[in-house]
């Protein structure tokens, strides 16, 4: 079977909008990802997305960003500030897990640290499942462990969360994915295993992609302000600047370095690239988002002052485009501001809020403990990122 690799922004955007190219990034991760939203195609995808989009709208994001997330962020980070140090990798996942649990609809009735640790352990298993294609370990053994983790998580967390929402009814239930799916169950007809995977997917997608963007953004901002001291004060004071830093980070470091599609029919892109039926299309997002024709000759450099051309998002195609554009894009990255946008009423995204909070808490690299990459995956993740907290940089 042939493989077509797309490396230009124009081809990638064209491919993402083509209805004859179906998602295939998660083919190896079916243990978690089978028939979840991002893996559906055509009418099945449209119908599920229409239901879930009733939740993933601006008014819900405003509720999360203004009313729910700031307190959770402060409470999660506070013990690390008190200790004076943290490893950003697990701390970022813990923080984003706390936020993602609210979004996905996974309750923690005990409210204890031990309970959160158990949910965190499940989350890490689900992440392994979704990114199995890039694993460097024994994939069959991982699959078995992940499948069991899903069942155990269901018994401990999902089933009680379902019961609580059913008892509350649609009017009293919180605004989250699980409640949305339950309220539209007649329309969707999801079997329990599919509902389980869908909620697990939202938990892992929201937590993992935001956590990696969180660590990478802080890394980029630390590097940028070392070289540009004039911007140090802006990080703590100007959320628009932090949002620019997050967008630039996400452009250079898409959550998945590649998009992948399978051609259901022969496709000819506008540029003339021919894709035969059955071919795999690899969208090289690292190249696409560094396309000098779009982002200029210094496209590979981190520059939060960069202005993307009209019609191009500052984060490139990291959230994809077309019908599979990330449903949580505005939640994670906020809305792209216009020149006349005021801070009041603007959505900055949860990553911006979390990153700015860390800088207000004095985050800085630990001079005696250097960050290290994760050796367990071919994806460019940080394995550990020790920082000092408290006081001023």
């Amino acid at each position: 079977m042939s493989t077509v690799v797309l490396t230009t922004f124009a081809d990638a955007k064209d491919a993402y909008r083509c209805r004859d190219l179906r998602q295939s990034l998660y083919d190896e991760g079916e243990v978690v990802m089978a028939d979840v939203l991002v893996n559906l195609h055509g009418e099945e995808h449209r119908d599920r997305r229409r239901v879930e989009n009733r939740l993933f709208r601006r008014d819900t994001f405003e509720l999360y960003e203004r009313d729910l997330f700031p307190d959770v962020t402060a409470a999660t980070v506070a013990p690390y500030v008190a200790a004076g140090h943290a490893d950003l990798v697990p701390m970022g996942h813990e923080l984003m897990l706390n936020l993602a649990a609210l979004t996905a609809g996974v309750d923690r009735p005990e409210g204890s640290a031990e309970e959160t640790k158990r949910l965190y352990a499940y989350l890490m298993r689900f992440i392994e499942g979704a990114t199995l294609a890039h694993s460097t370990r024994d994939k069959d053994a991982q699959r078995a462990v992940i499948a069991q983790a899903l069942r155990d998580w269901d018994a401990e967390f999902l089933a009680p969360s379902i019961a609580r929402r059913q008892a509350l009814g649609p009017e009293g239930a919180p605004r989250d994915v699980l409640a949305c799916l339950l309220a539209h169950q007649d329309e969707l007809g999801l079997e329990h295993e599919a509902l389980r995977r869908e909620v697990a997917f939202f938990l892992l997608a929201a937590a993992h992609t935001s956590a990696t963007a969180f660590v990478r953004s802080i890394d980029h901002v630390l590097g940028w302000t070392d070289a540009h001291p004039a911007d140090v004060e802006r990080v703590a004071a100007d959320p628009f600047f932090v949002q620019r830093c997050v967008h630039e980070t996400v452009r250079l470091n898409p959550s998945s370095p590649t998009g992948r599609r399978r051609a259901l029919a022969p496709v000819r892109l506008r540029s003339g690239v021919e894709i035969p039926a059955g071919a795999t299309v690899v969208i090289d997002l690292l190249a696409v988002n560094r396309d000098p024709a779009v982002f200029g000759p210094d496209a590979a450099a981190f520059d939060p002052h960069r202005d993307a051309p009209q019609g191009v998002a500052p984060f490139g195609l990291s959230f994809a485009a077309g019908m599979h554009v990330c449903i949580g894009q505005d939640l994670a990255a906020g809305v792209v501001p216009r020149p006349d946008t005021l801070a009041e009423g603007h959505l900055f995204g949860l990553v911006t809020g979390a990153v700015q909070h860390m800088f207000r808490c004095g985050v800085r690299r630990d001079p005696h403990d250097a960050p290290e990459r994760d050796a367990n995956t071919a994806r460019p993740y940080w394995g550990r990122y020790p920082v000092l907290l408290g006081g001023r940089r």
């Binding site: 124009a10 955007k13 064209d14 909008r17 449209r46 997305r49 229409r50 989009n53 009733r54 993933f56 709208r57 601006r58 506008r270 019609g311 485009a321 077309g322 019908m323 554009v325 449903i327």
Partner: protein, 73 residues
């Protein structure tokens, strides 16, 4: 020159982005699928194109006053 927009209701994913970005110019119908309000009050041609470009599903079609479709990609 005055552009007009229509929403392909079969393609719309109900993201609500157009309704949030250009309230008055786009609304939800009874089934929460977006539709364009004729005349898109208060929206310039450039702003209309911007809203259409931001539609995740590419459901918004914009034409000029001669009915020629505006390139959005």
């Amino acid at each position: 020159m005055s552009y007009r927009a229509t929403v392909d209701k079969d393609v719309c994913l109900s993201s609500g982005r157009c309704v949030a970005d250009a309230p008055g110019a786009f609304v939800f119908d009874a089934t929460e699928i977006a539709e364009a309000v004729p005349g898109h009050p208060g929206l310039s041609d450039a702003a209309l194109v911007q809203v259409a470009r931001a539609c995740p599903s590419g459901a918004i079609v914009v034409v000029d006053d001669e009915g020629v479709e505006i390139e959005l990609l």
